[in-house]
Symmetry: none
Subunit: 175 residues, 4 copies
Amino acid sequence: MLRNKILIVIGMIAGSVLTAAWLSTPHAIAGEPPKKTEPQSTKDITADQAIAVSHAALEKAKQINTKMDIAVVDAGGNLKSFIRMDGAWLGSIDIAQKKAKTARFFDMNTGEIGKLSQPGGPLYQIEVSNGGLITFPGGIPLKASDGTVIGAIGVSGSTVDNDHTVAQAGADALK
Amino acid sequence: MLRNKILIVIGMIAGSVLTAAWLSTPHAIAGEPPKKTEPQSTKDITADQAIAVSHAALEKAKQINTKMDIAVVDAGGNLKSFIRMDGAWLGSIDIAQKKAKTARFFDMNTGEIGKLSQPGGPLYQIEVSNGGLITFPGGIPLKASDGTVIGAIGVSGSTVDNDHTVAQAGADALK
Amino acid sequence: MLRNKILIVIGMIAGSVLTAAWLSTPHAIAGEPPKKTEPQSTKDITADQAIAVSHAALEKAKQINTKMDIAVVDAGGNLKSFIRMDGAWLGSIDIAQKKAKTARFFDMNTGEIGKLSQPGGPLYQIEVSNGGLITFPGGIPLKASDGTVIGAIGVSGSTVDNDHTVAQAGADALK
Amino acid sequence: MLRNKILIVIGMIAGSVLTAAWLSTPHAIAGEPPKKTEPQSTKDITADQAIAVSHAALEKAKQINTKMDIAVVDAGGNLKSFIRMDGAWLGSIDIAQKKAKTARFFDMNTGEIGKLSQPGGPLYQIEVSNGGLITFPGGIPLKASDGTVIGAIGVSGSTVDNDHTVAQAGADALK
């Protein structure tokens, strides 16, 4: 039941998000020469924004007395910034980056994917794809004011609840 | 019970397929020098077919209002074609290809393998083999009119049900 | 001497290309809370454009009697489209993709990088980075009409001269 | 000749460093049970220092009109901080990190290693070790005031001379 509801919600989110970008899909792989077309206009996170996001996340991490690794990727899923607090887990260097990548690769919070990748779930074992995904909480897409996903933040270093809290504080810096 | 039935069906399929193939296998590993033989005749997907399959999948994807990554591999499991619709998930680039590869590597729908790879199942953790397999729906073998598997299609970008629907539309283009 | 000239040319290219985007660089990693900023506006290749590029490359490949693997990546360096002609080298599946990635990763033709990565050159052994780069000809950045790099094409399957010729034909499709 | 001198200097450095370290090494692999000893006191870069280093590098990068990827690793060779300026090469994300790692892994400037890794040189092909090293300029060890190596900076995004200049500006921030 819960699984069905999650699938419906995913479908609703996908439906509403995807409708906007729909008009420019390909009309043919080959055959008659395709018409000349313009590139799509997009948005991407700036270094200034990545720093603002990291700064807000760091403040929250200190406030709740945790030591975190904080990664930010851009719209293409490529690393934009990273900072590791003194004493933070070494193993979280990779996890923070994989969380950020995972959140951007599917434009949803990493924890949402984790609900679907459990044994018996529709995305079981998705983690082996893309050179390794992390599907527990701590990765959140970053959005421009118009809702365009311009990157993602990934946080690792404490409980997954704390990781998510810190990531959310980072994401909120762009609001 | 369902699991048992699935296992029996898999066994039946395997049995019949293997029997047919058996007649052309070597009759002795060693002993008298083997007779000179001709190479086997095979069939493989063409680029034109891969484009036709992708085109049909794209049409279906638009029709059900989704944005998909669509990969086609040949009889050798090697990438033949790929197209990513504007706005489709970046994480699906790899998953679509892994679904196609998985479907061809075992000549069955990826979702069927996923039923067997659950905890306690006979193929538990098969996903870590072959550089990473994807065992949820969206990968389907592609067949010539005589049933020969000539490749596979893998689709990713929406719910696994939608992924499978789009992949099936692609596979049907060869019928 | 040649090496110095190449370095000067690289510097000149870098200088002119980079000046335009210069104004938005970060003012501080941390310290006082950074000011709120807007995301940067960018452009990205569409699926229609990727198809047009591939189509033009395919036509050229046929015209010069070669069999090619043709890959297109987007502005983020992620695969957008791929097609392998019947009988084209299997080993070129990966090389075509790596050429496209390499061309976008450094916004220059792959062959230019190869001149700098020779023994004694300033970029010797750069190929081991980024999961593997290909630095011989066949990869070319794709540009919007205003010069923005929106992706890249990578072609492999024949001599590097032929590979470059086919890639150029693809790139010209956006002019 | 230059190469011989470099080798001699390397030998001298190695000799003096190793002599100092020798006094605290175990005097017997086996035999009588070793005495209880204290752990060694070490020094490591802080997040604040990594930010200061990155900040100084960023300022220099702007001053010489370049766009850079800037990575800092700690004494363990693990990523401490990273920032990518807007428009900087995507391919430099990995190279900047590999330069920093390489500089710390051997406690010398990356360009020095590159002189030794040429064809016929004593470290030929060292680049394939450690998951990939970068041995051209742009990586510099970071030192505490007493000379202890506490990490390294790696810079990539322009000519190797510019990369080195920016990395040096970062390293100087700790002086």
